[in-house]
Amino acid sequence: MNERFYKALYRIRRVEEEIAAVYPTDKIKSPVHLSIGQEAVSVGVCEALGPDDVVAGTYRSHALYLAKGGNLKRMIAELYGKVTGCAKGKGGSMHLIDTAAGVMGTSAVVGTTIPNAVGYAYAMKLQRKQTLVVSFFGDGAVDEGVFHESMNFAALKALPIIFICENNSYAIHTHQSRRQKLSNICAKANVFGIPTEQIRDNDVFRIHERVSAAVKKLHAGESGPFFFECLTYRLKEHVGPNEDFHLGYRTREEAEPWIKNDPLVKLVAQLEPRRRIEIEAEVDTEIKDAFKFAESSSFPEADELFTDVYDCRA
């Protein structure tokens, strides 16, 4: 398990670092909201899911996409705007999708995929399928009305869905305390009759263990939904490849405990050094290949502009 989790965390971290490194060349034709610092939530949750389970996410979903098994080559190609991208270059970093892997889409408008995930869960329940749905969103989405409407309906219909609030404290540059009088996000879901749990330490194993327990209950036929608030921290700027402590809305001191507590670094100590080197080499090669794939792929032809607006078979 250590090796598996390390590989997943390391892979996401390295992909994001490589994106940040390439970004100044302007080869990436998409605004990027990097997941560095928040990888543990996606990995901890997605490692608890089956391949048929479905996730929906936000514009900051590189980690979610990769943790759920989304195709890396097609993700990087999407960022490059290439026709081999997961959305043929028509989605970009904020609209990653890989239906085969159960990544049902990510959206740039805060909170919008929450009800989509709820609807998907309703469909699973109606069709008596075993598939679970996991909806990822940030603390900013809790400000939105649709969050509360969605919690209410999911609870009312006892749907097989797990809500994961990735609370990184900031909606762009505005702290939660300046947006919400009451900071207890779990209480806001609990009020709809949803069992909730806060996980404070960004610990990939704890997240995995607690979410696995909920997954097991749902698979055993218990009623959903379940709600987890996972405290985490974004180490890069809201959008782009750099740090942003100079902006003054947060301090480096605030970030220090999260850096010290980096789940990736903590896991290093638990690995056999030789295995670690092997894992890293394997991942590095995969990433190198993915960027090569993106570089060498073609941009979409002009006729792609007009496809996929409507059903072309109609």
Partner: protein
């Protein structure tokens, strides 16, 4: 013998037959399962198909539209019902940012086959927020389809087409049209996507009437006929995709085009139709155009002001007479009792 149904029963029958045919179809929205069953359009569905496929919702238009999209992403075909079109303003984010865009921004990997039924109110003091015809908002956005059937026949055919369509369809019903009766076959049939219908033949002017204004245009056609003006009346039925060629062909013939919208004129469906026709015909034909629609104010509930707010058969005839004859004098036909209960006769 021809079977006559009301618009309401045509919708109910289409829904019932499609739900029977296809287990992936479900219906929900505020009050779809209450005693009034959306003017009768959802009557009997709960009893037949059960509460999982037919259910009333919390008052959460935004989330429930998102739920409809999620159901569609999972392969189902939801019909989301809104008893007033005005309430769609609470659903705009999901309709414009997700439903319209998913197929494109996800590179064709997914589709969103939802039907959004919504009603436009009129009279009985419907007022500011129960009367708006806001379909032009949706015509503006690539990825959405918009249909506004006016006859019971088309109400059924268009709804079946919309349910089977793999794209999101905004299905617009006018409350007054609910009372229309007309021939409706019992069989399942679809109204062809993006196909208009010529509802009266004429040579002097082309009159395009949208939704309830189709009825008023047919009234105007009779008033004009009485003074020797032959109006060709067209029901576009589908607003997106729009059958511009049928309208342009008629305008080439008549040389005059008047579009009567069931909404405000500015940036409306009429503006789109007139501009699109002119772009097609201007190199070869010099046609005259007019747009009519709601007065550019908020809908007043009091009847004396409301009468002035809407175009009607007589005011349309008055404007069209000037357009055709060049007359400068004012003329308004006396109201004819025989046109009060005008209905579509078919056969279609």
């Amino acid at each position: 013998m021809e079977r006559i149904l009301s618009y309401v029963d045509a919708i109910r029958e289409a829904t019932h037959q499609e739900m029977d045919r296809d287990p992936s179809v479900l219906v929900f929205g505020l009050d779809v399962d209450d005693p009034k069953v959306i003017q009768g359009t959802t009557r009997g569905l709960l009893e037949k198909f059960g509460p999982e496929r037919v259910f009333g919702t919390p008052l959460s238009e935004d989330a429930m539209t998102g739920v409809a999209i999620g159901l569609a992403l999972a392969g189902l075909r939801p019909i989301h019902v809104h008893i007033r079109m005005d309430f769609l303003m609470l659903a705009m984010n999901q309709l414009v940012n997700i439903a319209a865009k998913s197929r494109y921004m996800y590179g064709g990997q997914v589709q969103v086959p939802i039907v959004v039924r919504s009603m436009i109110g009129k009279s009985w003091g419907q007022g500011a927020q129960h009367s708006q015809g806001l379909y032009s908002f949706f015509m503006h956005v690539p990825g959405l389809k918009v249909v506004a059937p006016t006859t019971p026949y088309d109400a059924k055919g268009c709804l079946i087409q919309a349910i089977r369509d793999n794209d999101p369809v905004i299905y617009v019903e006018h409350r007054i049209l609910h009372f229309q009766k007309g021939p409706v076959p019992e069989t399942l049939y679809t109204a062809p996507l993006g196909k208009a219908r010529i509802t009266a033949q004429g040579s002097d002017v082309t009159l395009v009437g949208i939704s309830h204004m189709q009825l008023e245009c047919l009234r105007a056609q009779r008033y004009l006929e009485a003074i020797g003006i032959q109006a060709e009346v067209i029901d576009p039925i589908w607003l997106q995709p729009l059958d511009i060629e049928t309208i342009a062909e008629s305008a080439r013939k008549t040389g005059r085009l008047c579009v009567v919208d069931n909404g405000w004129i500015t940036c409306g469906a009429g503006a789109e139709i007139v501009a699109a026709v002119l772009e097609r015909v201007q190199d070869t034909h010099a046609i005259q155009v007019r747009r009519l629609g709601f007065a550019p104010v908020t809908c007043p509930p009091t009847p004396t002001l409301e009468d002035l707010y809407y175009p009607n058969g007589r005011t349309i005839a008055s404007v069209v007479r000037k357009l055709v004859s060049g007359a400068k004098d004012e003329w308004l036909p006396d109201e004819r009792a025989d046109l009060c209960e005008i209905e579509f006769k078919g056969p279609f």
